[in-house]
């Protein structure tokens, strides 16, 4: 496959998906997804459970490599390059931060959690790491709460703190794309609002894909929103239009108005 185009060729499009289909052990979980995620923006993905939202994210950062039975067809281009053309998928994943539904504080100190990515990439200098850790924790709105106990276990923080720790860890990768998968599912409303503020600030620097089970969250944050339903992409529409009854598909309107799902 020729991917001669330099990454900056299509700089207003961060993720370009064409006819994506995902199967688990031969069974179709998601099909017919064609969409473009604009760069430096928040792109919402909504839909009820089992609609294929998470599978979509997994295809973007090549989690299919480590999931037995997961097959991906169609193409996913990240910054102009098909993700399956990367010979070193680990390097691809370093460019893509992921935040999972349940916060995963790795069983190491808060400091080590945030320093891990840099360490894996060979940064040894303590002063450099200190700078990275502080910057990422500040940007994730967690610094003030943990600055005095960076040496305590990350897995002992509260759910909301752990989720911000996860975001700080993702930011420490210095990613160009941030994938969030229902990040607020185990987080209290106040923390959710803080994280949402963080995300609005981050979008000037990176592309954010926000998969959410809260349609109002998509409305607050995303400029465009995709609606997934039972393994299909129903539509991608400007978020405001979608919520003001101008969705292309009646099912979308029904979903965002809370009639099902």
């Amino acid at each position: 496959m020729s991917t001669a185009a330099p990454p900056s060729a299509d700089s207003d499009c961060a993720i370009d998906v064409v006819d994506l289909a995902i199967r688990y052990h031969g069974q179709l979980a998601l099909s017919g997804v064609t969409l473009k995620v604009p760069a430096h923006d928040i792109f919402g993905v909504i839909g009820p459970a089992n609609s294929g939202k998470t599978s979509f994210l997994r295809a973007v950062n090549r989690m299919d490599l480590m999931t037995a039975g997961m097959e991906v067809s169609g193409s996913v281009r990240v910054e102009g390059r098909d993700v399956r053309s990367w010979r070193n998928p680990y390097a691809l994943r370093q460019r893509i931060g992921v935040v999972f539904p349940l916060p995963v504080g790795l069983p190491m100190t808060i400091y080590e959690n945030v320093a891990l990515s840099s360490r894996l990439r060979g940064t040894r200098n303590k002063a450099d790491l200190d700078v990275i850790v502080e910057r990422c924790l500040r940007r994730a709105a967690l610094w003030d709460e943990v600055k005095d106990r960076l040496d305590s276990l990350g897995s002992l923080l509260s759910g909301g703190q752990q989720q911000r720790l996860t975001i700080a860890r993702a930011l420490s990768q210095d990613p160009s794309i941030l994938l969030l998968d229902e990040f607020s599912i185990a987080v209290d409303p106040v923390t959710t609002m803080r994280i949402e503020e963080v995300l609005s600030e981050l979008k000037s620097e990176m592309t954010i894909v926000l998969v959410t089970n809260l349609v109002q969250q998509a409305r607050r944050l995303a400029s465009q929103t995709a609606f997934f339903l039972t393994g299909e992409l129903v539509e991608v529409t400007e978020t405001e239009a979608m919520f003001e009854g101008a969705a292309q598909d009646p099912r979308t309107t029904a979903y965002v108005e809370g009639k099902f799902g």
Binding site: A68, F100, S117
Partner: protein
């Protein structure tokens, strides 16, 4: 006034009966262990209280219980024999079992993984006398040939045999420890771009550290308690080993070999039971330490509550 539904029906009686039976089963384990300890203590008590000389027992290498003039009961050589064989066994088995556990737990998938697990469990079922036989008939000539030594029944031989013998059970326990590390940790680290090895080395192994230490300790306990294979492969001569090519005698092997030829109640008989008490205390301490480590490992995840810590159940 009683409600019509308020009566002790069959389900209530079955529940009560089963609770009592299960309790009895649990208590019996404790009763048996306490009984064994009482028995060996009683048999060895006469020696411990009348004849026992702390300095002789722990610091003299002279184990000559059958001497007519001056029987001595120095267990140092036996303790050194057991310790040297167990130590070498750990040097052999820790890399093997850890490597196997990491491969099975972190790298192998699907059928390869299942097949390997079954094979490892089969290996654990090989009787120790078969291992002793291998030591005697295969390792012995091999060591004589390769290292050009007169006798091949020595620390090296029995250490390797014992190491291979302990490796499967250690692999199984170590793999359980790796399995108890939540998958969310692996996913989170891999999503950051960590390679499989980085995930294993930086995240999984530290998280499973206590379980891995416990696996090693149980291997040590196995080495301490193993009798037949060591009896057959170690040369069985009382000796303070100075090189891996020295023959030694183990505590367990001494009991097995000598107990049948002593008069019940004699000093020699009671001295052997004293060795038994010592072995019992050491293995008990090792198992207790392993248990403490396993519990320490579980506490770490309690806060998360995402997945209950897996039991050490193969």
């Amino acid at each position: 006034m009683t409600h019509a539904a308020d009566r002790r029906d069959l389900a209530w009686w079955i529940d009560r009966t089963m609770q009592v039976l299960v309790l009895a089963g649990g208590l019996s384990a404790i009763v048996f262990i306490a009984g064994i300890f009482l028995f060996i203590t009683r048999e060895g008590a006469g020696f411990v209280f009348d004849r026992f000389d702390f300095r002789e027992f722990f610091f003299s290498p002279r184990w000559t219980p059958t001497s007519n003039h001056n029987p001595t009961y120095g267990a140092l050589a036996l303790i050194a024999g057991t310790a040297s064989v167990t130590g070498l066994a750990m040097v052999v088995s820790v890399p093997f079992s850890l490597g196997a556990a990491i491969y099975i737990g972190e790298f192998a998938t699907g059928r390869v993984r299942e097949t390997l697990k079954v094979l490892v469990e089969l290996l654990a079922a090989i009787p120790s006398v078969v291992w002793g036989f291998i030591g005697l008939s295969i390792m012995n000539p091999l060591i004589i040939q390769v290292f050009d030594v007169p006798v091949g029944l020595n620390v090296l031989n029995s250490g390797i045999i014992l190491g291979l013998m302990a490796a499967p059970i250690m692999t199984t326990i170590a793999e359980d420890a790796l399995k108890a590390v939540p998958d969310g940790y692996r996913e989170a680290a891999e999503a950051m771009g960590a390679t499989r090895w980085q995930v294993t080395f930086k995240v999984v192994l530290p998280a499973a550290r206590n379980g891995l230490v416990a696996a090693t300790l149980l291997g040590v306990g196995r080495g301490f308690g193993e009798t037949m294979a060591v009896l057959m492969a170690s040369g069985h001569s009382v000796n303070l080993p100075t090189s891996p090519f020295d023959s030694v005698r183990a505590l367990t092997a001494t009991i097995a070999a000598e107990l049948g030829e002593t008069a019940a109640g004699s000093d020699h008989y009671q001295a052997l039971f004293t060795l038994g008490i010592f072995l019992f205390i050491v293995t008990f301490a090792i198992n207790l330490a392993a248990d403490v480590f396993v519990r320490g490992g579980r506490r770490k995840y309690r806060r998360r509550g995402r997945r209950p810590a897996a039991s050490a159940n193969p």
